[in-house]
Each structure stands twice: as C-alpha cells, then as structure tokens.
Amino acid sequence: MNRRAPKPISQGLVYLGISMLTVIVLYPVMVILKKAFEPGRNFATSVSPVPTEFSLEHFENLLSSANSSGDLLFLRYAWNSTLVALATTIVGLCLACTAAYALSRFRFAGRRFGIATFLAVQMFPGTLLLMPLYVILHKLGLLNSLLGLVLVYATTAIPFCVWTLKGYFDSLPKELEEAARLDGASSFKIFYMIMLPLAKPGLAVTGLFSFMTAWNEFILASTFLTDDSAYTLPVLLKSSVGQYSADWGLFAAGAILTSLPVMALFYFLQRYLVGGLTAGSVKG
C-alpha cells in the first residue's frame, strides 16, 4: 500500500478544522473551570474563558459545608454516588455478560424475541418510566434508599450492556470455543476461562457506561431520593443552584470534582477501550 504524502495545504486545512472543533468542545469546560476558580457567586458576563482572579474559596466552601449534625455533605454524597455507581456497574455487568453470551452463542426458544425486546426497551427514555418506577419502589419500600436506585439504574443499563457485549461476543472466533470444547471444557468453563477474558474490552466499555450513567444520573435520583442524607452528587449540585438563590461558583467547583473520577476511569481503561485482545489468536 502506497499512500501519497498529503499536500501541505490540505494538511493545514485539516489541522485548522481539528483545532476549531477542539476549541468548540473545550470552551464550555473552560468556562466552568474559570467559574470554579473565580471568586463570587454569579456568572461574569465576559465571554473570555480566562479567569481574572484566582481563588479556591468555592472548593473550600464545598468541601467544608456540613449539616446540623456535623457530617461533611460533599464527602457523604460522594460516598453515596460511589456506592450506587459501583453497585450498578457490578450488578449490571454480571447479569449482562451471562445474558449476552447466551444470546450470542446458544440457540433457544425466545432468543430472537429476547434480543428484540432488549432493543425495544432501549428506545424509551428513562423519564417515561419515572412514574411506574416510583410506584414500584414505593410498594417495595425502596424509595429514599440507595439500593432502590441501584436496582433502577442496573435495569436501565442492562439492555445497552447486553447489546454491546453480545456484539463483542459475536466477534470472537467460534473456533476458540470449539477448540476448548474438544479440550474438554464445559460450557461454563469455556465462558469464564476463554470468552470472558477475551471480552475484557467489551466489559470495559459497558462497565464504564454503566458507571457513568449511574454517576451522572439526576432526574430519577432527585425524584426517588427525598431525604437529604441519601442524595447523590448530581442532586447536591442541582440543589446549589436553586430557584431563588444560585451559587454558580459552588456549582462549578462541584461539577469539576464530580467529573474527576469518570475522567480517571477513562484514563485507566483506555488500553482496553482500544481493544485488539484477540490479536494473534487466528490466522498468520
């Protein structure tokens, strides 16, 4: 394969385009950063993303705000969010990976219907389920509980996870499984000794997705959690910019701290996100 070297002009245009897109994507982030480090509650009217003053007061306020019994609110909600997001990811992944494998490799009655259903339920926005879910959680006595939230998040994340993982399992060579069957492995051993390790990139993608949805979700959380000891971070963030008084500095500082864990996850999972784990298994 012999590709012509790109002409300098067209290359320059490409870089210009990429730079513009980068600015467009980064601008809102810069504005939030600016607000987080700039003293004062209100948004400045200037469009410049460069702060004129620098202070950590919003971070200090955020991290030190406590309720009447002295609990640090931010840390408490961060802990709630972590529990919910981790539990959602684990429950979602465990259920989704077995379901996806079965849908990918076994032929059974109801398989096509199951796949179609998983796709169909994806098409409804979560808010549509708000009322029925509220009723269900109420009947189960799980309103205001993190467990209830985990169940809701996991069930909404599972269809996507199943679809993504099924696609991933479909792409793994059938011969690997046949080789393992000839080697004497049972279906379950084939699943956890061969297929699951090879599906790590798929697991990383779906795990990250589940974590992010649970971590960032606001509407369901704010509806189901009415007691402020059970809040998650997005609910806290929203409450800092209420209807009558808005502290945008606090909000910006909270938004930045909230996004750090997801960014860290992206960073550590990127080698899986790139994929390529089956390289070297088949062909020369």
Binding site: P173, E178, A179, R181, L182, D183, G184, P197, G280
Partner: protein, 358 residues
C-alpha cells in the same frame, strides 16, 4: 483400537439447499492417516466436524474403535483437532495453551509440566513457552496448534487444512512434521483435510476424494493416481493435469479405436455399449520417441515452459491442446512440428456421458 468408521453419514444444513454430505460410508483402519481431499465446498470440513462431534450428522453413525460415538459429546471422544485458523487461546501463554486440556482433565501439575516440556521440545517451541500467541510467527503458531493436539495423546487426530495459511517452504516442513507425529504412534488414527492434491499424495496412507458431498474414490495415493475411477479424480491429481480428448468409439480392423477429426487411437479394450469416450493421458505418458508401430499424433509446439529438470510443451494437436512433460534437454522449440507417441497401455478411458472409468 482407534479405527474410525462412518456408516451412512449425511448432513443437511438446511432444508432447501442440496445436502453438504450424502450417505458417506468410510472406514479408516487403526493407525492409518487418511486424507480427505476435494475442491472447496465439497464437504470435507463437514465430515471432519461430524467425526469431532462439533456438528451433528443428519443421518448415520460414527464409530471410534468399537464405540458408537454418534451421541457422545466431543470432549469424551478422545480426539484432538488442529484448526485451519489455529484457534490458539490468545490470552494464554504457549505453555498454558498446551496445558489447557490437561488441566481440565485435572492432571497432576508436575506431570503436565513434563508432558508440555516434552512436546514443546519435539516441536522446537520450547523457547517460546512463556510467550503469548501474538508474539509468534505463523509457523510457530502452527506448531503450537499441533502441540496442543499432540500433548493430549488422543486416539484420533483431526486436521482441517492445517497448512493453508503457511508459505510454501514452511508447508513442506510442517508436512514432514505431521507425518512424523502420526508415525510416532502405531495406534493413532489421523484424518487430514486438504484441498491440495500434493499434500494429499505425500501424506496419505489412504486418500478419500470427495466432490459435492459424494465420495468419488478411496485408495492409496498410487492407486488413485494410476487408476482414477472417473474423470474428476483423473483431472484432480497430477500437475499439470491429465490431458483429455473426446472421441467416438469406432471398430476398425478388429480393434476398437477412439476416433476424432485427424486422429485415431486404438483403445485396447472393449467399451461396451458406449459410443462416445473421453480418453485421458498424463503429460508424462506422452513421449516424443517411440516404437514405429505405436499410435501417434501430429502436433505443433506453441509454448515451451522450462521447469528445470523437465520441460512442459504445450502443443496444438488435431484433438485440441495437449500438455507434454519431457526432459529439459528435448530439442523441441516453439513452432516445431512433432510426432507424439501415445502408448495404448497409458490411456485412461472414460464414458463421455457418465465420466466413469470403462
């Protein structure tokens, strides 16, 4: 005893298309290496997969030794298979790949180590035991794939086109390796699938020729080469392929002749009720010199290809284009007119309609 026997095995993947295999009866005696050969799509892999248990036969039974294994799962058939794509476990080291089946069988870890080491040494992959498959070359991966089968010491080896991803030189080496592995045990039966007639000829104790799901002929390489049962088998083996000429069977001076425009060859045998025949003759059976009473044909050379020890002459004859293989120092050049000698005992005669041997 590890004789492999198939009786009345057929396979239909779906109701509409023609069956991939039609009523196959085949016995491979204990310790033999049988090669299933035929063009792509003729049902070779299907046969192998039915023996492995990866595919269910639509009808018929499979026996290994005296056991009817038709309904026994692959793991309990005591077979090992080498896949065309190698199918190495990519996330495991070479050692773990080789040890996988033994670990499933819960062998003692010390014994596993010994067996893996020994097989790895015999296949010269003992330097790579800690590597992952992706850090190996194609030839090394192929050795690991073979090692994974050998280490289990199975009753039956199955090979599905194991060499088709390798270059010509490696293919020759690995062919010898496979022959050595098969011969190292008197009681291992091997079933080897290939579309390559040279691999089939060189490896096989017994060749099974398949076409469109039907067995065309079963026999030793020499039997198949010397006495092909039909025109397909005759044309499939040998490079360059056998020459075929179609002619009328006509009685002349008490002997039967294959007669066409500008040529007439005595057939030397009865052809029964058949009046059109296809006469086959291998390129090396045609010679440029011969007895004065041998049947001959006039021809002119239109292309000369030197192979080194030999030369191929592509000639135009009254019966159409023929290929002649002769020694490299033959004087014939492009444009020369020649007399070809076609010995009667080297002719293969087929019924032109049914294409079966007469």
């Amino acid at each position: 005893m590890s004789e492999v026997r198939l009786t009345g095995v057929s396979k239909r993947y779906d109701a509409v298309s023609r069956p991939a295999l039609e009523s196959l009866d085949l016995t491979i005696p204990n310790g033999e290496l049988a090669v299933l050969v035929g063009p792509s799509g003729c049902g070779k892999s299907t046969t192998l997969r039915i023996v492995a248990g990866l595919e269910e036969a639509s009808t018929g039974k499979v026996f290994i030794g005296d056991t009817n294994v038709t309904n026994i799962p692959p793991a309990n058939r005591d077979i090992a298979m080498v896949f065309q794509s190698y199918a190495l476990y990519p996330h495991m080291s070479v050692f773990d790949n080789l040890a996988f089946a033994l670990r499933i069988q819960k062998c003692d870890e010390k014994e596993i180590r010994e067996r893996v080491q020994q097989v790895a040494r015999s296949l010269s992959i003992d330097d790579y035991l800690e590597r992952k498959p992706k850090a190996l070359s194609g030839g090394q991966r192929q050795r690991v794939a073979i090692g994974r089968a050998v280490v289990r010491n199975p009753k039956v080896f199955l090979f599905d086109e194991p060499l088709s991803n390798l270059d010509a030189k490696l293919r020759g080496e690995m062919r010898k390796e496979i022959a050595r592995i098969h011969n190292s045990s008197d009681h291992t039966t091997s079933l080897y699938v290939t579309h390559d007639q040279i691999e089939a000829m060189t490896l096989a104790d017994r060749i099974v020729v398949l076409k469109d799901g039907l067995v065309q002929q079963v026999g030793s390489p020499i039997e198949i080469y010397d006495n092909p049962e039909n025109r397909f088998v005759a044309g499939f083996f040998g490079t360059p392929a056998m020459n075929f000429l179609t002619a009328d069977a006509i009685q002349k001076n008490d002997t039967l002749h294959a007669s066409g425009e500008g040529f007439s060859l005595p057939l030397g045998k009865e052809v029964g009720a058949c009046d059109r025949v296809t006469v086959g003759i291998r390129p090396e059976s045609i010679s440029l010199h011969g007895e004065s009473d041998a049947p001959t044909m006039k021809a002119s050379v239109h292309l000369r290809e030197v192979l080194g020890a030999e030369v191929l002459l592509h000639v135009d004859s009254p019966a159409g284009e023929l290929t002649v293989r002769t020694e490299a120092h033959a004087e014939a050049r492009e444009g020369d007119n020649l007399t070809l000698y076609l010995p009667t005992d080297k002719l293969h005669i087929f019924d032109a309609a049914s294409e079966n041997r007469i």
